[in-house]
């Protein structure tokens, strides 16, 4: 049975979208040989769909995505710095440049400059903000600022970022590959029976509560870049951006799945001056079982490892002891059961794909792949369309509904104060019909909301 995750996936280990996106990137890179000449390098870069640069605000390159070496783009980094500082000398700040099909976005967050060159214009500014927060999550904002003050303007930040290339790269690919770049400020839930999710949440909460670890604030079960459950101490909340930073950390095999991990991580939206300590384990990733779920327990105290280790043990034992839950849970995690459009009922055949975002909970629900949007290219097209729609609705905030008829498919966008909905319909649909289908969709989603969304959070 084909694995299904948001956007579709063919391989079991594939987290879906970003892999397909990475494929197209690599294909172009294969053409590259020993590029020594600067012009050749730039010509090559021009062919790529996007390129991200991080440099110090005085021009030293720090990071370039796609496994490139910063040394290759040294003069380009200087140029970026010169552009940004030129504008600054006018008392202005450089935001973006557009040339033919290239969109270049700049972000100056002292002591760093971020720049992305992209063939796609959507929400590049947000993407750079997310990248900045990713860097902050590694160093904390205060350490980032202080290190230049302490060590001098010529400090090479790569020393402090050593070993994180992969982490930063995967952060970039994940937001690039997400169907809508809203996803960086939203999360999605693993579809589960509400009783299962409740059991999971109450188990996690009770174990964390019983441990009485003063400073342990959150417990999160993550699988396939989706959330199974979150529990929190009292009323502390964790921002979706911070959650996505955590998701990025625990996904994509950056961490060792066969050991327990104790990782300092700054969650900038919560507190950008200090670190959480994340106990991260994959209790069922071993030779006997292959359930790709990850348990993350967060504390502000660095000596809580042993306490959290105990908590994890208790959680795992209790979950495993409930055979029915555990079977359902394994199933839900291994082969996520995304929302099938056929669930809407009759006359839903014309709806090919949708993405629904709830504004208050910042949770996203995306439909399972459905013919004719099955192959990678087709799904990629669907993602692009949704991206463009969301960019459109961001640029025109008063836009409430949009129906676009095309020769190959139709687009339906509906934005309210409470939600945003992006749909792709077949080409023979009318606006009236699509509206009817959408109304049925919303009713259906509502009646199944416990399955596709995390409605209640459990506190301890």
């Amino acid at each position: 049975m084909e694995e299904e995750v948001p956007g579709g996936s063919a391989e079991a280990t594939d987290t879906g979208s970003e892999a397909s996106f990475k494929v197209s990137q690599r294909e172009i890179e294969d053409v590259e040989e020993n590029l020594k000449n600067a012009e050749a390098i730039f010509e090559h870069l021009e062919q790529l769909p996007f390129q991200v640069f991080i440099l110090s605000e005085f021009g030293k390159p720090i990071f370039v995505n796609n496994d490139r070496d910063e040394g290759e783009v040294v003069s380009l980094a200087a140029l970026i710095c010169a552009f940004v500082s030129r504008c600054q000398s006018w008392g202005d700040s450089l935001m973006s440049m557009t040339s033919q099909d290239n969109h270049i976005q700049f972000l100056h967050k002292s002591p760093l400059i971020f720049c992305v060159v992209s063939k796609y214009a959507e929400q590049l500014d947000q993407q750079l903000e997310v990248l900045f927060e990713q860097i902050c999550s590694i160093l904390s904002k205060s350490q980032l600022e202080n290190v230049y003050k302490k060590k001098g303007d010529n400090y090479d930040l790569r020393k402090l970022l050593r070993g994180t290339d992969r982490l930063i790269d995967s952060s970039i690919s994940s937001w690039r590959a997400s169907p809508i770049n809203l996803v960086d400020s939203s999360i999605s839930a693993i579809p589960m029976n509400s009783s299962d999710r409740e059991f999971l949440s109450t188990t996690m909460a009770s174990c964390m509560g019983a441990a009485k670890l003063d400073g342990a604030l959150f417990g999160i079960m993550i699988a396939r870049r989706q959330i199974a459950a979150i529990v929190r101490f009292k009323k502390y909340v964790i921002h979706p951006r911070d959650l996505n930073i955590l998701i990025n950390l625990v996904s994509d095999t950056t961490l060792k799945t066969d050991s327990q991990n104790w990782v300092p991580i700054c969650l900038p939206r919560f507190n950008d001056t200090g670190f959480f300590y994340a106990y991260i384990s994959y209790p069922w990733c071993n030779k006997d079982q292959d359930i790709p779920a990850c348990l993350v327990l967060l504390s502000v105290k660095r000596d809580h490892f042993d306490g959290l280790k105990e908590v994890r043990q208790q959680i795992v034992t209790k979950l495993e002891n409930n055979a029915k839950f555990f079977t359902n849970f394994s199933q839900a995690v291994k082969t996520p059961n995304l929302y099938q459009i056929s669930q809407i009922g009759s006359n839903s055949e014309s709806l090919w794909s949708f993405l629904y975002l709830n504004h208050s909970s910042r949770q996203v629900c995306m439909s399972a792949s459905k013919i004719p949007l099955i192959t990678r290219t087709e799904r990629w097209m669907a993602r692009c369309e949704m991206r463009r729609s969301s960019a459109l609705s961001t640029r025109h905030p008063h836009l409430r509904t949009l129906f676009v008829r095309g020769t190959k498919h139709c687009l339906f966008v509906w934005v309210t104060d409470l939600f945003s909905l992006y749909c792709i319909f077949g080409p023979f649909v009318t606006a009236a019909v699509s509206f009817q289908v959408v109304e049925k969709l919303l009713k259906s989603l509502k009646s199944h909301e416990q399955r596709y969304f995390i409605i209640n959070t459990t506190s301890f």
């Binding site: 005085f58 070496d69 040294v74 200087a78 992969r166 939203s186 502390y236 949770q363 995390i454």
Partner: protein, 209 residues
Amino acid sequence: MSGTRKKALLKVIILGDSGVGKTSLMNQYVNRRFSNQYKATIGADFLTRDVNIDDRTVTLQIWDTAGQERFQSLGVAFYRGADCCVLAFDVTNAASFKSLDSWRDEFLIQASPRDPDHFPFVLLGNKVDLESQRAVSSKRAQSWCQTKGNIPYYEVSAKEALNVEAAFLAIARDALARESQETNDFPEFPDQIRLNPNQQNQQNSGCNC
């Protein structure tokens, strides 16, 4: 393995009056010429050169500045973060030699390095192939260098870029030596997050999940 050491990157600024021949010198020297067309508009050309010291490669990011008045307002961003500053003058042009003081001072003001007395400068005296027109003697240049903290001096010409290479090798070697002398001064991990009860339930910062 990820995490292996990367090449050292050094930012090198070239300062000096326009007309001293910086550009043709640099063009001889660099292996990756980005472009010569930015100087007139932005105020600098950006060049790259890799040098090898023992088993290490150092990439030099060379900011070949325009040397004209109107670009001096860009000083701060251009000059700050530099690992080294190369001053250039034309040995056949005494005025260009006299400007050196103000170039050096300007640089130190704009860049504000942490240790201005020991900031690495290098002096290049260009156009030594025009010996008959020489207006500044080697001795005079060297004594200036000595008064400024023993700045190394290299005489160069576009026809023979060898000494240019020696100058940059010296820069790279010096920078690497400084790096290894750096005290083992590791960043302190920030103190524990102090939890603020008011942080709970902030509507705009969290999802209700």
